[in-house]
C-alpha cells in the first residue's frame, strides 16, 4: 500500500514536545523524518525524566511517545562542519521543522533565508510559544504558559473555582498538530506553484484559534466568557455522575426530548421524572441542581460501562470518564486500532496510541520505534550525503558527529 507522503523527506530540528509531535505525525503519513540531534545537548525529553537528569538517553517513555517512526542522525551544530552537513542534508529535503527559541536558528546560520539558498523550494516551519516576531518573541513558554495566554486555562474548570493551569501536554500536542496541517498546506501549495514557504507559528495563537468561537462574545459584546465545568448553556442533564467503583464517573448529556425520554426509560420511569420541574429542556436547566442529584442517586450503585451501554441503547449520549487503564483495554479502542504495540530495545514492548485517521487507499501507521540517538547516522552520512568511511571517522573524532 502506498503512503500519502511517500518520497517526502523532513529534517527535524525539533525538541521537547510540539516540534517532535508534528514530525511524528508526518512520519505516520509516510514521510521520511530525520531527527538531527547531538549528545552535547540532547533533547530534553531524552535527558530529563521526572525529578532530574538521567544517564540513559534511551529510557524516557515520553521521548518514545513523540518520536516513533523517525530516523536519528547526530550532528553537533555548534561546529562549523556540523552546520555545513546539516545544510547539505536540508538540500536533499522537502521540509524543515524547528522549535528552538526564536533567533537560535539564525545564530546557527540555519534560518529560512540561509536554507532556501541551498534548497530554493524548501518549506520551513518554526514553532514557538509566542511566535518569532513581536515584543514577546524571546519569552520562554512551556505548555501551561501558552494555554494561559491562549485563553484556554481561564475557560477550564469549575465556575466557583480558580482557573486551571492545564498542566497536561495538550497545548504542545495541538501546536504540533496545527503544524502538521500547516506543513500539508505548504506542500499542497508547492505542488501547485513550485514555491517553498516559511511558516512562523505561535503556540499561543494556535490554542486561542481553537476556542475562537468563545472569543466571539468579546468581539460582539466586549464580554469575556467564563468557565462552566461540565455544564452547558442549554442542555440539562449535562454532567458527570458518580458510579460504583473507585473514582468511576459517567458523563450524560441530553439534547432533545427524545433523548430525555430515553433516559427516563433507562432509569425505569421514576415518578420524579414526570414532575413539571423536568418537563421541558428549559425547566430541566432551571432545576439542574436537583436533577443532577437525582440522576446521581440512580447511577451511584451502577457500573459506569454497563450504564453507558444501557443509555446508548436508549439513544442517550453517555460515556464514562475513562481512565488510561480502561482506554488501553477498551473494545472499541482495540477494534479500531487506536492502540498498537511497538518494541523498543530499552523500554520493552509498549502499547501506544496511533494516528487518528484511517485512509482507505494510503497507509497511516507507526512505521518504527523511537530511534536511539544517532541510530541512523551511518545511513544519513553514507547513503544520503555520500561521505566515505575515512571522512566519517574523522568527523567522529572531531566530535562533529556526536
Amino acid at each position: 500500500m502506498q503512503s500519502a507522503l511517500q518520497g517526502i523527506r523532513v529534517i527535524d530540528f525539533g525538541h521537547v514536545l510540539a516540534g517532535p509531535w508534528c514530525t511524528m505525525q508526518l512520519a505516520s503519513l509516510g514521510a521520511e523524518v530525520i531527527k538531527v540531534e547531538t549528545r552535547s545537548r540532547p533533547d530534553e525529553q531524552r535527558a530529563q525524566h521526572g525529578k532530574g537528569a538521567v544517564a540513559n538517553l534511551e529510557a524516557n517513555s515520553n521521548f518514545f511517545e513523540i518520536n516513533l517512526g523517525k530516523k536519528s542522525v547526530t550532528l553537533n551544530l555548534t561546529t562549523e562542519e556540523g552546520k555545513a552537513l546539516a545544510k547539505q542534508l536540508v538540500a536533499t529535503a522537502d521540509l524543515v521543522l524547528e522549535n528552538m527559541r526564536p533567533g537560535v536558528m539564525a545564530k546557527l546560520g540555519l534560518d529560512y533565508d540561509e536554507l532556501r539558498k541551498v534548497k530554493p523550494d524548501i518549506i520551513m516551519l518554526s514553532l514557538s510559544g509566542f511566535g518569532g516576531t513581536g515584543p514577546l518573541r524571546r519569552y520562554a513558554a512551556y505548555n501551561p504558559c501558552f494555554t494561559s495566554v491562549g485563553g484556554t486555562s481561564n475557560l477550564t474548570g469549575y465556575a466557583e473555582k480558580k482557573p486551571n493551569t492545564m498542566t497536561n501536554s495538550g497545548g504542545d500536542a495541538r501546536a504540533g498538530t496545527a503544524a502538521v496541517f500547516a506543513a500539508l498546506v505548504a506542500l499542497k501549495f508547492r505542488q501547485e506553484t513550485g514555491k517553498g514557504q516559511y511558516i512562523d507559528s505561535s503556540s499561543s495563537e494556535v490554542i486561542n484559534s481553537m476556542i475562537g468561537d468563545q472569543m466571539m462574545d468579546y468581539a460582539m459584546n466586549q464580554r469575556s466568557p467564563r468557565r462552566h465545568g461540565n455544564t452547558d448553556k442549554v442542555m440539562a442533564p449535562h454532567n458527570v455522575y458518580r458510579c460504583a467503583g473507585q473514582d468511576a464517573w459517567l458523563s450524560i448529556a441530553v439534547g432533545s426530548e427524545d433523548e430525555w425520554a430515553g433516559l427516563v426509560r433507562a432509569m425505569g420511569n421514576p415518578a420524579w421524572a414526570s414532575e413539571a420541574d423536568f418537563a421541558t429542556m428549559s425547566a430541566r436547566k432551571a432545576n439542574e441542581a436537583r436533577l443532577d442529584q437525582l440522576i446521581g442517586e440512580w447511577t451511584a450503585d451502577k457500573d459506569h460501562v454497563a450504564t453507558m451501554h444501557l443509555l446508548q441503547g436508549e439513544g442517550v449520549a453517555a460515556t464514562p470518564s475513562f481512565k488510561a487503564s480502561e482506554l488501553f483495554n477498551d473494545p472499541h479502542v482495540l477494534a479500531r486500532g487506536q492502540v498498537q504495540e511497538v518494541d523498543h530495545a530499552v523500554l520493552g514492548t509498549r502499547k501506544t496510541i496511533t494516528s487518528p485517521y484511517r485512509m482507505s487507499e494510503t497507509e497511516v501507521a507507526i512505521r518504527g520505534t523511537a530511534p536511539f540517538i544517532g541510530a541512523d547516522t551511518a545511513y544519513v552520512l553514507k547513503d544520503i550525503l555520500k561521505l566515505d568511511d575515512a571522512e566519517i571517522a574523522r568527523l567522529e573524532e572531531a566530535k562533529v558527529i556526536y
Binding site: F64, Y139, G150, T165, T177, N239
Partner: protein, 388 residues
C-alpha cells in the same frame, strides 16, 4: 492570488466538520456548505449573539466557523435534492460529512456511490467514534467525547482530591481537535491524489483524535500500571498564583534554573535560598507551603508586572488571560492574530485569524460566513452552465 485549488462540499453541522471546512476555506479552497432548507447549520442557533438576541444569521459560533464559505440550501432527503447533490459531487475534490455511519449509504450517497460518479473524490467522514468498531453508532456531545477520550479524567488538573469530579475542557476544543484531524488527513489525501493517486475515504474519529492528543499523559499507565489522575500528585511542574488585581498567572517550577529566575524576580527572599526550598526535591516535598509563599508574593504585584519581571530573569511565566486579555495583548495584535470581517447582518467584528500563515502566500481577502442559502442560485447556476 494563491489558494488551495480544491472544491470542497461540506455536509456537516455545528463544530467539528465545519472547522475542517473552515481550515480549508481560509486557505483559499472553494467550500460549498450544504444546509437544510429553512433551518441551516445547528451552530446558527448556539450564539453568542450581540446583546443576547438570537438571530440565526449572527451566531458567533457559526460566524467564526464558516468564514470564506458559500452556502447552498439543499434537502438531500428528497430525490431531487440528491440528484443535485450528485451533480455537485461530480465537480468536487472533497466531501466533508459528519452523518452517523451508514446514514448516507441509506440515501444512496455512501462512499461507494460517490466514488462511482467521481473516482477522484476524497470523502472525509468525521464522527464521534469513527466508521468502525463497537461504539461507531454511539451518540456523543462534546462533554461525552472529552470524558470518553481520557482527557476529561485528567481535569481539572491539580484538583485538591478525587471528590472534585472530572471535567470537560474549554469551549468545544475537543470538536476542534476532530476538525483539525480531518483537515490534516484531507490535505494528505489530496496531496497523494495529485501526485498520481486516486480519491479515497478518510475516516476520522473525534474520540481517537482526542485520545492521541493526550498520549503523553496516558502513557504513564504503560510506565507503571497506575492511572494518572487529576490530582497531579508528586509532580512539581508549575503553580497557579493570584495577583494583586485579582487576576491569575502561572509560574513554572520544573527545574532549578526556572526556580532561580523566579526567585530573583521575587527579590531573592531568604527562605528561597534555604532548606527545604533550595532544591527541587525540597520544593516538591513542601509544595503546599511553597504555593502559599508564592501567593503571598504574587498578591503584591500586578499580573503584568509578575509576567514581565519573571521573564526578564529568563524564566517562564504567563498571565492567565480572559477573552478581554487576549484581545488586548499587544503581541497578538502586532502579529496579525485578529482580522476584521464585515458581515451583512453582524456588522464588522474582529475574528481570531488562522495562526499558521505561510509568509510567501497572498490569500484572497477574508469573506464573512454566508447567509443561509446566500449562494444557492450562484452555485446551481454554475452547475447548469458547466453542464451546457
Amino acid at each position: 492570488m494563491d489558494a488551495l485549488k480544491a472544491r470542497v462540499i461540506e455536509l456537516a453541522d455545528f463544530v467539528a466538520g465545519p472547522y475542517c471546512g473552515k481550515l480549508l476555506a481560509d486557505f483559499g479552497a472553494d467550500v460549498i456548505k450544504i444546509e437544510k432548507p429553512g433551518r441551516g447549520d445547528d451552530a446558527r442557533y448556539i450564539g453568542p449573539f450581540k446583546d443576547d438576541e438570537p438571530n440565526p444569521e449572527a451566531s458567533g459560533t457559526f460566524l467564526y466557523l464558516n468564514t470564506n464559505k458559500r452556502s447552498v440550501e439543499l434537502d438531500i432527503e428528497t430525490a431531487e435534492g440528491r440528484a443535485t447533490f450528485l451533480e455537485l459531487i461530480k465537480t468536487a475534490d472533497v466531501l466533508i460529512e459528519d452523518r452517523m455511519p451508514g446514514e448516507l449509504a441509506k440515501l444512496g450517497l455512501g462512499y461507494e456511490d460517490l466514488h462511482a460518479v467521481n473516482p477522484n473524490l476524497v470523502v472525509t467522514s468525521i464522527t464521534p467514534f469513527g466508521q468502525v468498531g463497537p461504539y461507531k453508532d454511539f451518540k456523543a456531545y462534546h462533554l461525552n467525547l472529552y470524558h470518553a477520550s481520557g482527557q476529561g479524567y485528567l481535569l481539572p488538573m491539580w484538583a485538591i482530591n478525587l471528590d472534585v469530579p472530572p471535567c470537560q475542557g474549554p469551549g468545544y476544543l475537543g470538536l476542534f481537535d476532530g476538525g483539525m484531524a480531518g483537515a490534516t488527513a484531507t490535505l494528505a489525501a489530496l496531496f497523494w491524489r495529485d501526485a498520481g493517486g486516486t480519491g479515497q475515504h478518510v475516516d476520522v474519529s473525534i474520540h481517537h483524535a482526542m485520545m492521541t492528543l493526550e498520549r503523553s499523559q496516558l502513557r504513564r499507565f504503560i510506565d507503571d500500571g497506575v492511572d494518572p489522575n487529576r490530582t497531579g500528585k508528586g509532580r512539581l511542574l508549575e503553580s497557579l498564583v493570584e495577583c494583586k488585581d485579582g487576576e491569575f498567572a502561572v509560574v513554572i517550577l520544573s527545574s532549578q534554573q526556572q526556580w532561580e529566575g523566579l526567585w530573583r524576580a521575587m527579590g531573592q527572599p531568604e527562605w528561597g535560598a534555604q532548606p527545604p526550598f533550595d532544591t527541587q526535591k525540597g520544593r516538591s516535598d513542601n509544595y503546599a507551603e511553597l504555593r502559599k509563599r508564592l501567593n503571598d508574593w504574587s498578591r503584591t504585584v500586578s499580573q503584568d508586572d509578575l509576567f514581565h519581571s519573571i521573564q526578564r530573569e529568563g524564566s517562564a511565566a504567563a498571565p492567565i488571560l480572559t477573552a478581554e486579555g487576549v484581545f488586548k495583548l499587544e503581541q497578538f495584535r502586532q502579529r496579525g492574530h485578529f482580522v476584521t470581517i464585515e458581515h451583512p447582518v453582524a456588522g464588522a467584528l474582529e475574528y481570531i485569524a488562522q495562526p499558521t500563515r505561510p509568509s510567501g502566500v497572498e490569500l484572497a481577502p477574508k469573506r464573512p460566513a454566508p447567509l443561509l442559502g446566500q449562494h444557492t442560485a450562484e452555485v446551481l447556476g454554475e452547475l447548469h452552465a458547466s453542464a451546457n
